[in-house]
Amino acid sequence: MDFAILPPGLILICVSILLLVVPHTYRMALVVTAPLLTLLQIWSIRPDMALPSHLLGYDILPLTIHPFTRIFSTAFAFAALGGGVFGLGSKNRYETPLGFCSAGFAIALTFSGDWFSFFMNWELLAIASIFLIWGGGNIHSKKAGMRYALMHLAGGSLLLAGIAAQVSITQTALLPTFQLHQEEWIWTSSLFLDSDIYMDYLSNLSIQSVGIWMIFIGVLIHLGAPPFSAWVTDAYPESSPSGMVFLSAFTTKAAVFALLTLFAGNTILIWIGIFMAFYGMLYAILENDMRRILAFSIINQVGFMVVGAGIGTTLALQGAAAHAFCHIVYKALLVMSAGSVLQQTGIRRCSELGGLYHSMKFTTLCCLVGALSISAFPFTSGFVSKSLITESADPLIWILLLVASAGVFLHAGIKFPWFVFFQKDSGLRPEDPALSMRLAMGGFAIACVLPGIFPQTLLYSMLDIPVTLEVYTAHHIISQLEVLLFAGLGFFLCLPLLKRTLTITLTFDWLYRRPLLNLLKTLEKQVNKGYTAIRNLLSAATQRGKVHLMRFSGQGGMFAEVNTLATTTLLLTLLLASYLLFHYNN
């Protein structure tokens, strides 16, 4: 049997089971080889290896290659490798296996060619993520995991209902696919939201149009798009240091993949993406918890990808996919550096940190590389991928993305490393973390820089169509540096205004954690009252019925009397006679 024809992601899922039973000495070998074998498998699968099959009378394609399958699955395998190595120092035995499961399902999702396998992998990824959040091991992580589960249950239900509508109308379970073209991007059968076909759907308000909207909202929930974004910042920071490395890579980026595959080119996405970029940025500026800063930053960065999906040209879609790849790497690096600080100090609040560069030099260096990459500094991966998106935008969107880029440098490029590693000296002198953690951080720091220097070889080669844009022009490099460094000047000028406070910031989750919860509690009280009233009513009626019944069948009642044979015979005769009469009349 050909190695490549194994279901993608299966190696990681199988190894995750093995990791639960093998001794610690063999874990390192498994943690390194499984993602590398998966990478080999991903790149060995050819488009002609599709595995057509049948399920419930429908044709299904559990193995197919979409335009962005390779780049996303490669990023997921990399994240599994990095998270696995970083997690070797973790005491929690279940975390890396769960992370590998998540990676396996995320990879399988990118190869899904039909709704059944897509939905199954989508949900299994969400379930594995819930357990990763619970791996945080405290009461906050348990509650946050439960809220995450509820949110994704809602998203999954909507997605399932939408898929059911879509499959029943179109009579096909195959995912709509589109093809990229060098000159011009065209749809073949992608789902539409704001095209003429969509308008036609909407005017008829057909089940299919409702179904497509349900799928769309289901994907948005997974994406962390406001107002469904609270789960990202609520749940991710409550996981363990290595748990968040896995979490930051899979769920939202799997949703970006779904968006690129199903809804590319819908202009509504541009505005959703812009809102996400600014929302994540403003909240990250306000935040005091370093892990929540990074969680808000995920929403911000996913916003850039959503804009690319919305623009819908070949270059923009390539930019969105490339940005997802780069984001997985540099966000994992930032999360690792924050996780190292958390592990070594036990502190998450920026207000209690500072001056850690004195003793955590390696972590500081890696964090700075990640911070420069997320800020799209020239010669980092973020610069290349973000440029592909911004350069494909029209002037209004371009200027908004430029402002958003300055904001990214503000919160993730300067604020996070400045308050954690520099600024005031907190007096804390923790050491750099264990060797495995340093290896993971070092590897990912290199992976942030090399694709920025050699984009053709290490980034564009993962895309189906060659990228035509030259990002390294003198003017582009200088203008980008100007925007970022002058934004930095603004940060330092306003430093007294950015005083850290021991506060949290309310997000959209306030709506369902306060007013909606109060409404539900009130409803529960009313329902309980109604239930008690009905129960009392029924109880009283039963009592009355019982009293009446006892009159006839109780002691001294008519039916309780001992009748003679003659009386009984007479009663039965009368009963039979009345039946005959009734039957005769009919």
């Binding site: 509650k143 940025m281 403003l282 500026i285 306000l286 100090t345 036990g346 502190i347 209690e352 002037p395 371009w398 200027i399 430029l402 402002v403 300055a406 904001g407 503000l410 600024q423 005031k424 000296d425 907190s426 007096g427 804390l428 923790p430 022009t473 003198a474 003017h475 582009h476 200088i478 203008s479 540096l481 100007e482 925007v483 970022l484 460094l485 002058f486 934004a487 930095g488 000047l489 603004g490 940060f491 330092f492 000028l493 306003c494 430093l495 007294p496 205004l497 950015l498 005083k499 406070t501 021991l502 506060t503 949290i504 910031t505 309310l506 997000t507 954690r513 306060r514 919860l517």
Partner: protein, 86 residues
């Protein structure tokens, strides 16, 4: 691990050398921008002016910080806000 000392937060102005380097780099960038024409690749007319990108960077930064502060007044709560409300 408890903090040993908590001195007052130093401003960057306490490091004049860093400030000087920073200002020199910013000035060099503006000079480089002036010397490189970009009319061919410009997205909008204003982009051709040398002050465009520095102004976008600085203004974005200041506006975002002030907007965030205004939002903070509305949205910031004590850390124990959610305690007992799950």
């Amino acid at each position: 691990m408890k903090p040993k000392t908590l001195p007052s937060e130093p401003a960057l102005s306490k490091y004049p050398r860093i400030w000087k380097c920073f200002i020199i780099i910013l000035t060099a960038l503006v000079i480089a921008d002036v010397s490189i024409p970009n009319a061919a690749t410009a997205h909008m007319a204003a982009e051709t002016y040398f002050w465009f990108f520095p102004m976008v960077g600085l203004a974005s930064s200041l506006v975002l910080i002030f907007v965030a502060r205004a939002l903070g007044k509305l949205l910031k709560r004590r850390e124990d806000y959610w305690e007992g409300h799950h």
